[in-house]
């Protein structure tokens, strides 16, 4: 039975590039200091940025993700990968188009988001889990597993500000992958911890995929994308360039990277 996880229909996203007198995000001072310039403000347009400071990060992207799929999102810097993840994770809304989510989303766009240095590892697991929309009971039932995976048992009641960066990152990764509901969004987070932990986290992701989780994964690591994901989507300048088997898409993409 096919079941959708995500459907993106013609997603557009524009950003107002910050330039003085743009209005949005401008400080009162700019307006007060140069009222005439503010009233008569005009900006030149470039290829990417329109006269009114509009930059289209996504230009009509459509795709469907089925339940249980693992998708690698690839493309150059500024291709719109992170913007797309932000829209799927509902951090920002599209400017045009429609996105439908059929599964609970858990985004791991940055390691340790919502962690508070003053709080212990234990407190942070609960806080972080509840940010991700988990209930107290759900977190509690997975608590021991999270701690064991992160390998920080002895320091679980120490404020995380005393953690080494490795410990911190392991705990954060562990919380996110163990509290995963159905759809996990990952942005460049596999480069986490030492080599041993990297292998462990890749294994964990494969395990999640096997257990039926849907994963969308942004990475510049071609090997990891090929290894973990069956399917890959290649974004280029805000448009969908290629969508297919990860091995084929990654190879095509790599070709464009070597040609200078």
């Amino acid at each position: 039975m096919t079941r959708y996880a995500v459907r993106a229909e013609d997603i557009w996203k524009d950003y107002k590039i910050y330039r003085p007198f743009e209005g949005q995000g401008s400080s009162l001072k700019e307006v007060l200091n140069h009222p005439i310039r503010w009233l008569t403000r005009k900006n030149k347009s470039t290829a990417e940025i329109k006269a009114d400071g509009t930059f289209w990060a996504l230009k009509g992207v459509s795709f469907e993700v089925q339940h249980g799929e693992s998708i690698g999102l690839i493309g150059r810097n500024g291709a719109g990968k992170s913007t797309l993840l932000k829209i799927i994770s509902r951090i920002t809304r599209p400017s045009r188009g429609k996105l439908t989510l059929y599964e609970h989303v858990n985004s791991l766009l940055e390691i340790g988001t919502g962690f508070n240095g003053e709080l212990s590892g234990r407190d942070n697991i609960y806080l972080n889990g509840s940010f991700l929309g988990m209930k107290y009971k759900e977190i509690k039932s997975r608590f021991d597993e999270i701690v064991a995976f992160s390998e920080i048992e002895e320091f679980i009641d120490t404020p995380v500000k005393y953690y080494s960066s490795g410990m911190y990152v392991r705990l954060a990764f562990s919380v996110a992958v163990h509290l995963t509901p159905e759809l996990l969004l990952l942005d460049e987070v596999l480069a986490v911890g030492d080599a041993g932990f990297q292998i462990k986290s890749q294994q964990k992701m494969k395990e999640l995929i096997r257990s039926g989780a849907t994963i969308i994964f942004v990475s510049h690591n071609s090997a990891a994308v090929k290894d973990i994901c069956k399917r890959a989507i290649w974004l280029d300048h805000g448009s969908l360039k290629m969508d297919g088997l990860s091995t084929e898409v990654v190879d095509e993409y790599n070709k464009t990277c070597t040609i200078k």
Partner: protein, 277 residues
Amino acid sequence: MTKSMTPIVVVPRKGLEFPDLHEVWEFKDLLFFLIRRDLKVRFQQTFIGVLWIVLQPLIQMLIFFVIFGILVKVPTDGIPYPVFYLSGYVVWQLFLQIVNSSATSLLGNITIITKIYFPRLTLPLSTMIGAVIDFLVSFSLLLVFLLANNYPFTDRFLLLPFLVLLTMIFSEGVGLLFGALMVIFRDTKNLLGFILQIWMYITPILYPMTIVPEKYKLFFFINPLTGLVDAFRWVFLGTNSLPSLEYFLVSSVMAVIILLIGMMAFRSMENRIADVM
């Protein structure tokens, strides 16, 4: 865990929207952990810890007492200084704390907001509840002073929950409005401190309404806090007269309207903040 959910449709924002309160309720566990976080972080590594929550209003009252009671000698309608100041201070502090924390809740949590989705309203809501916890502590302190000064615990106190609720609604509305403004104009952050300072001086906290000249009284009662402080003092001390029922009706409706506007402004900014940052 794999229960099927009703699909969420994400479309461009259009005009004014109202926060999804049902979703906030779904995240009630987050609300609890946020309140706990703020309390824990506040007293972490302080020497006397939670004692600060009692000490803060006490020290503040002492400062008022020395400056306005002993040095300036502001009349208090014959009410002993400690109870007079503390009875006004608890109300003001509730307002101040809610406004300040709600106003900064979007910008102050920007690193989380740009990385995880959760109903943003949980942030100002959690700090509002935190402020009410503080209020309960300083209120208990006030009770001690009231009993020590022979002001009995009467049935007037039945009005207290309603007054607290009204203060919460009004303060949260003001805080959310400032919070939304802060996203567009960062200058608001610097201005807010001064605005609140002026607000405190035009509210009868450090002086009674009786010393305000008759011709300015109307101006004072435009400020919804004036009526609230007066009503709280009536509950605590029973000396001044309770503002009229009409006044309460008008200020309740006003408070609710301000809250609704504040919530809509907050909602439109929470949509925008991830793009502006």
